[in-house]
């Protein structure tokens, strides 16, 4: 592979990788237009409110409705 072709292809690949999370979120916006709320969760001795908060933290995203 020529140096110029290599740089071109690598650049395109890196560019795609860099914007993929953004594209992912755009898809999420268009996929669902409703609030993601789970209003029926029980806590137990094994599954505490802290565990619920951990899930909320992991599922956090940069859009209001996902």
């Amino acid at each position: 592979m020529k140096r110029r072709t290599f740089i071109k292809k690598s650049g395109m690949m890196l560019g795609t990788m860099a914007v993929s999370p953004v594209l992912g979120n755009i898809d999420a916006i268009h996929e669902n237009d409703f609030p993601l709320m789970d209003l029926h969760v029980h806590t137990t001795r094994q599954f505490t409110i802290e565990h619920v908060m951990d899930i909320a933290k992991k599922k956090r995203c940069s859009i209001r409705y996902c």
Partner: protein, 214 residues
Amino acid sequence: MQKKRGVRFGIVEHPATWAIKNDDDLKKYIDRLRRYPVYIGLQPTDLGWSKNFSPQLLAQLDYILMDPQRVPMKNGEILSIWKFDTYVEDTNEFMARYMDYTMEILENEPLTIFGWPLFLPVCIARDYYTLWTAERMKQIIMATKKRNIAIEINDMSHTPHEEFINMAKEQGLKFVFGSDARNQIAGRLSYCKKIAKKCNLTKEDFYVPERIVE
């Protein structure tokens, strides 16, 4: 700029002799959850439950979610229909009692969200689409509409189905998602998301508790 926000949660506990028994328990429950960014709800399981609590304290809750899963039968027995070994001897008699009990809840109990709608005991679930006639569904929808009660789309039972959701949507009813989870599946909501998308539900079709939870 939009704030970072993901899935939001509402916690429910049962007001019952084995869980939240009185005002003291309820106050502790509310105070404990107030420290977290979650909605605070109750899930009563029996008629008349609210008599054991002061209205002022109940007013501090974000919502009350009630389901008709403890069906009183003719012989005085309470049928806990979520149990896998629930036996229904006479389907027609069961459906009549189930509808009566559902109506009793929807017409007289204090509630914000109708939980586990259209769920059937496992032993008769194969007849779901036959038993949930348009007439029965309409009766539930009109009672719900009359008191402005939201309808839960339940991720555990995969109910209600598309036809019911569309009928309810046509009447302007609001929906919520509920997993009934007690573990890490909380917030996954696979069925809820799938059916909401299929029924073209948008944010306007959803009930959101009034309190701001960030």
